[in-house]
């Protein structure tokens, strides 16, 4: 006779709450890395603010060439700290929403921020009528700075941020959908990867204590991604446009990115965070 699923579970003892596989990392051990991370985020935000100022100045002056040039190198600071920036969903929407987020597309009244300006600069080749959007972006970035300064960083958000950044890459960077007008996706790609690597590096001693093989595997995959990205670096320190990425290199990125996403999704648990 077939056993009912419930009976089977009871037989196997699987209905008991599974034992915690990892000893929780002592909270004190997390204080150092978290405050270091806050310093990192603050620095990135300072860079974001000053670059955004230069970028929006160029937009308002009608200097199309400079505005186009500054677009990607400015955004990269936002991309590297996205898990923290996203904690403020109103600002994330006004700074970084993509055209797909709006039913009415580029014509949506609440479509603002980087990608709205990107549309005018790269798709319409124009800085016309962007004054208000430029001011708004500047104001939002400064607002973000203030809010982050007053924020107590939740450990699980910080550690979970590494996985969140990889999900960003897997969802929108691999497909080249992030910067669809400028095709500068590789800047954002690198920003996400650097931001994730930073988190892993800050918690490295604690992770190593739990699972040394894991760290080695994660490092290997970061290195593989960086190696492929490096192929597309330009002399000025920037990146080629995403349409230049060869199919075999795109595939070479997918494996390590998806594996990092899987592995880093266990990071919170490994450090005993809820």
């Amino acid at each position: 006779m077939k056993k009912s699923p419930l009976a089977l579970l009871l037989t196997l003892g699987l209905l008991n709450t599974p034992h915690s596989a990892f000893a929780a990392t002592a909270p004190l051990e997390l204080v150092g890395p978290i405050s270091d991370y806050k310093i990192y985020v603050t620095e990135q935000l300072d860079e974001l603010a000053s670059h955004t100022q230069q970028f929006t100045d160029a937009v308002k002056k009608g200097d199309l060439a400079t505005a186009k040039k500054l677009y990607a190198p400015t955004r990269v600071y936002y991309e590297s700290i996205e898990p923290i920036a996203e904690l403020f969903s109103d600002l994330d929407a006004s700074i970084d929403s993509r055209v797909d987020d709006h039913e009415k597309g580029v014509k949506a009244e609440d479509f603002s921020g980087f990608h709205r300006i990107e549309y005018s600069l790269f798709s319409e080749n124009s800085t016309q009528g962007l004054g208000e959007l430029a001011d708004g972006l500047n104001k939002d970035v400064k607002d973000l700075q203030t809010r982050v300064a007053g924020l107590t960083f939740p450990p699980e958000k910080v550690v979970g941020g590494a996985a969140a950044l990889l999900e960003e890459v897997a969802a929108t960077k691999i497909s080249g959908e992030e910067d669809r007008y400028s095709h500068t996706d590789l800047y954002d790609f690198q920003g996400n990867i650097d931001g994730a690597k930073k988190i892993v590096d800050l918690f490295r001693p604690q992770i190593e204590k739990q699972d040394a093989a894991f760290i080695a595997k994660v490092d290997k995959n970061f290195a593989m991604v960086n190696k492929t990205l490096a192929k597309y670096k330009t002399r000025d320190g920037g990146f080629e446009t995403y349409d230049k990425v060869k199919e075999n290199d795109r595939k070479a990125l997918v494996g390590p990115v998806n594996t990092l996403a899987e592995d880093l999704s266990t990071l919170r648990g490994k450090l005993g965070l809820n």
Partner: protein, 454 residues
């Protein structure tokens, strides 16, 4: 009147006061009056059989029931399952790019696939881990995976035999990258692939569970390239002494009427399986060629076509599936008696596909298609058609020859093949020491695989 089991309402049992007997009676009475007794609801909700339904009244949220969730097929065997296995209600074909960078990785891919397929087809409890970690299983079938009639069939595409893994010398002789036929409008993002995995089971959810398991377990080695799901509408049970009728496709015609007998091992040996000792590489024996085609049907236009024209284009009577002038689906058309095509037009679909001459016996194939429906095209027309899958021992003599005969058929006005690919279905896994793809790997580097030999 049985009371409603409280376990069915964990979310609301505290908030709502329980129904008293008379309320329950009225509810049940209403249901009976509406012709929606428990059995009626179950029949309406699912095509899966549900014999001996309990007398308890069904609730809106009650799941359709099935007594087939524990049905399973043996994974081990000379041939893979999912080929001569009777088609269940749901099918899904997923094509992957292989991300492995060397042979070692490729072997890890096959071994992991083997392990996952063996588990998924057998079912069983899912490993539980520390709840601080992501669960190892999606959980969509619950903590105990039910096989639900699942088969998973692995095939390899021509591109797997490129320079990456040193397999070029062992490529099956007839395996090529699919070349478009004149009526095709192939879309690059739903064609070809290094690997195809066919999932078939009683429910879409079981197939999706299996796919998600494989995707989660092989993040560094496999990348989904395209996927197409489809279904077969279940038929009423055959009356005693009457052969089962074929399911209908989205053109409304019975599809599969002239398929060879998949229960006849001899027939399958000659039509489907690559025999040992053939001109194919030795490792390929007991494998098969898989041709996959995503064939969009222009259904609005078809539905605006006179019945007699539909029937003459197909060569069958729409209501019964019988050949023209016949009464039953199983009747065999006698084209010798109809040389001018007065009864069945010379360019009718079934006549071109299978002219039933001695010479064209060599072109028989085993079809195993599913109907698909994907949404709406930009023009507002429904995006649906046939996920055509067929198996044959010789791709050239089989699908390619048959499709070439069909080039220019009148039915083309209503069809547009948009995707698919050719694959070679690997031989079966013959024991615990064997694994899927083992014979292929061994064939190229036997010295390095001594332990793997089953």
């Amino acid at each position: 009147m049985e009371s409603i089991p409280p376990l069915a309402f964990p979310a609301c049992k505290q908030k709502k006061k329980p129904m008293n007997d008379s309320e329950q009676f009225n509810l049940q009475r209403r249901r009976v009056l509406m012709g929606m007794g428990a059995a009626g609801v179950a029949l309406a909700g699912t095509a899966l059989s549900c014999p001996a339904m309990a007398a308890s009244p069904a609730q809106v949220t009650e799941a359709p029931s099935s007594d087939k969730t524990e049905d399973r097929h043996a994974f081990h065997g000379k041939h893979q399952t999912g080929i001569v296995t009777p088609r269940p209600a749901c099918g899904m074909l997923v094509s992957f790019d292989v991300l492995a960078s060397d042979r070692e990785d490729l072997e890890r891919l096959f071994r992991t696939l083997n392990e996952r397929i063996a588990f998924l087809m057998k079912g069983g409890p899912v490993t539980q881990v520390d709840p601080k970690l992501p669960p190892v299983d999606s959980g969509i079938l619950g903590p105990v995976v039910t096989p639900d009639n699942l088969t998973i069939t692995v095939s390899v595409g021509e591109s797997l035999f490129d320079e990456r893994f040193g397999l070029a010398d062992t490529k099956p002789k007839r395996l090529i990258r699919m070349v478009g036929f004149p009526n095709d409008a192939l879309e690059a993002d739903c064609c070809h692939g290094d690997l195809s995995v066919q999932f078939c089971s009683n429910t879409t959810d079981t197939n999706i569970h299996a796919l998600r398991d494989i995707v989660k377990n092989l993040p560094d080695l496999l990348l989904v390239r395209w996927k197409q799901e489809g279904s077969v509408p279940p038929q009423a049970p055959a009356k005693p002494g009457v052969p089962a009728q074929s399911a209908r496709n989205f053109l409304g015609f019975r599809d599969g009427s002239a398929n060879p007998n998949s229960n006849d091992a001899k027939t399958m040996d000659s039509i489907v399986w690559v025999p040992p000792g053939s001109d194919e590489p030795a490792w390929a024996a007991n494998g098969s060629y898989q041709a996959v085609r995503i064939i969009r049907n222009f259904v609005e236009r078809w539905d605006r076509t006179p019945l007699q024209e539909q029937e003459s284009i197909l060569g069958r009577v729409k209501s019964t599936g019988a050949p023209m002038g016949g009464e039953h689906e199983t009747q065999v058309p006698d084209y010798a008696k109809d040389p001018e095509g007065k009864l069945t037009k010379l360019d009718a679909h079934i006549r071109l596909a299978n002219p039933r001459t001695a010479a064209t016996q060599a072109n028989l194939i085993l079809r195993r298609p599913f109907n698909y429906s994907n949404g709406v095209n930009k023009n507002g027309q429904l995006d649906m058609g046939l996920l055509f899958i067929c198996y044959q021992a010789d791709l050239q003599k089989g699908f390619i020859t048959v499709q070439t005969r069909l080039n220019g058929e009148p039915l083309e006005e209503y069809l547009k093949p948009v995707g698919g690919g050719y694959f070679f279905t690997l031989p079966g896994v013959i024991g615990d020491k064997d694994f899927i793809g083992r014979s292929l790997l061994d064939a190229t580097q036997p010295a390095l695989q001594p332990k793997a030999t089953a």
